[in-house]
Amino acid sequence: MSVRRRLFGLVAVAMLASSSMAGASDSVTDAIVREAFATATPEEWRDRLAQDDAQALCSRHRNLPPPEVAAQILESQRATLRLPDDGRLMGDWRAGEKLASIGTGGHIGRIQPDPPGRAKGGNCYACHVMAPGEVAAGNIGPSLTGYGRLRGNTPEMQRYTYEKIHNAQAFFPCSHMPRFGHNGWLTPKEIADLVAFLLDPASSVNAGR
């Protein structure tokens, strides 16, 4: 590890102690979290343990923000919305179908980390019913079966769907849904593939009865 990297790490931890975590909730819980994750790297602290404003506010209000806080989150999250550089909102629905089933990737730690480079997916099926043929689907989120059949795939619908996957909290503050694009979990191309999985008339999500 270079000296520069080390310095950066120290700065990250210092920032964490002063700003991000102060914005979270009460200092008792913050101290407990610092102790529990004392061996986490500065990068892990920055990327996985420190809270951004939306995370801190949703935690503090236990996902039920009062109207003025909800409006604040909505505004800050809307400001994060980015469309892909190439303007392509609908990709390949079959690639999206694969991503919807992948629940691996991104696990860290000593006991059972993922091998480096393991594919990350959207793992949509963990929480949503989608294609009728996949019965092992969760229900934390609403059913998305027939999503495109019911809504059409106008440019407006493509944009809404893309942005919803990119940052669900730009529409529903403190939504349980991960901010897949905003947090860099999925690439713009991957999100476009998922948009196609939902909206393409040929997609298994929109298969007839």
Binding site: A24, S25, D26, V28, T29, I32, V33, E35, A36, F37, A38, T39, A40, T41, E44, D47, R48, L49, A50, Q51, A54, Q55, C58, S59, R62, N63, G106, H107, I108, G109, R110, I111, Q112, Y125, A126, C127, V129, P132, V135, A136, A137, G138, N139, I140, P142, S143, T145, G146, L150, R151, Y160, F171, F172, M177, P178, R179, N183, G184, W185, R209
Partner: protein, 272 residues
């Protein structure tokens, strides 16, 4: 019409017009999975593999071990030295000798250090490996509370502090997927894929879940203690690994046990 309303309307249309067969198929699959687990549970009713761990744990409890060659029989699990019956039902709790609120795991480690002369590193070595000494000891201790109601003390200021912190930690969101415990465990009747999720805000659900730990996990061929369960949940959330025995993990257990208060322990449980 707002997007939320459109979504709701869409769900309604779907349910009414097109999804009846899908729901039926999903229900069939769930029923099948639940049936298989029920059958498996019945089959193992007189022989949960966790009982092997219980026996190993009891032998470890009584065996003279470590640099001092002492057994754990003088270990105070909260109800007095050597009292094992009912201790798990009241853990975590505050211990004056360590000045900390401790769960079963961390209390056993304190005893292994204080009585048997092990170093903390030795006492926790490979704690997560299937069949570890700690897994066996916790299984033995928990089984001695079978049939007793969960009742964790929260009157000591330290216990009250961890209870409050545990409730906050349950809702603490962070990481690349914005997860907290509440993401999966704050609504009734929810599933990940086909896995049922207890809602820990609902006392009936919390009781039903908490009384079954530690549990033999069929998919892991191992008994998982509560610490093991929670540390793996944190891993699934894509957070770094919390330290074994850390206050965060103990605080979550104080809060979870408190949510499940009054549930009669059935330890060891058996799960997917």
């Amino acid at each position: 019409m707002t997007w939320r309303m459109r979504g709701l309307a869409a769900v309604a249309v779907l349910a009414a017009a097109s999804a009846v067969s899908i729901v039926a198929a999903a229900t069939d699959a769930e029923d099948h999975a639940a049936d298989e687990i029920r059958k498996y549970r019945q089959m193992l009713e007189d022989g949960n593999p966790a009982e092997l761990m219980e026996m190993k744990g009891e032998a470890l409890w009584r065996e003279a071990r470590g640099p001092t060659g002492a057994s754990l029989e003088a270990c105070d699990l909260g109800l007095g030295p050597g009292v094992v019956a009912g201790a798990y039902a009241q853990l975590p709790r505050f211990f004056a000798d360590t000045g900390r609120v401790q769960d079963t795991e961390s209390r056993l480690i304190s005893c292994m250090v204080a009585l048997q002369g092990f170093t903390p590193v030795e006492a926790t070595r490979d704690w997560y490996r299937p069949g570890s000494d700690l897994e066996a000891l916790v299984t033995y201790v928990a089984t001695q509370s079978k049939g007793m109601p969960i009742r964790v003390p929260v009157s000591h200021p330290e216990e009250a502090r961890l209870l409050a912190a545990g409730g906050e930690l349950f809702f603490r969101r962070s990481g690349p997927l914005d997860f907290s415990c509440a993401t999966c465990h704050s609504q009734d009747q929810r599933r990940i894929r086909l896995q049922d999720l207890p809602n820990f805000l609902n006392p009936a659900d919390a009781r039903a879940s908490m009384v079954t730990w530690p549990a033999y996990r069929v998919s892991q061929s191992a008994v998982w203690t509560m610490e093991r369960r929670l540390i793996d949940c944190v891993r699934q959330m894509r957070w770094p690994e919390p330290a074994f025995g850390s206050e965060a993990i103990v605080a979550l257990q104080v809060w979870l046990q408190h949510q499940g208060e009054g549930g009669e322990l059935q330890s060891p449980g058996i799960k997917r």
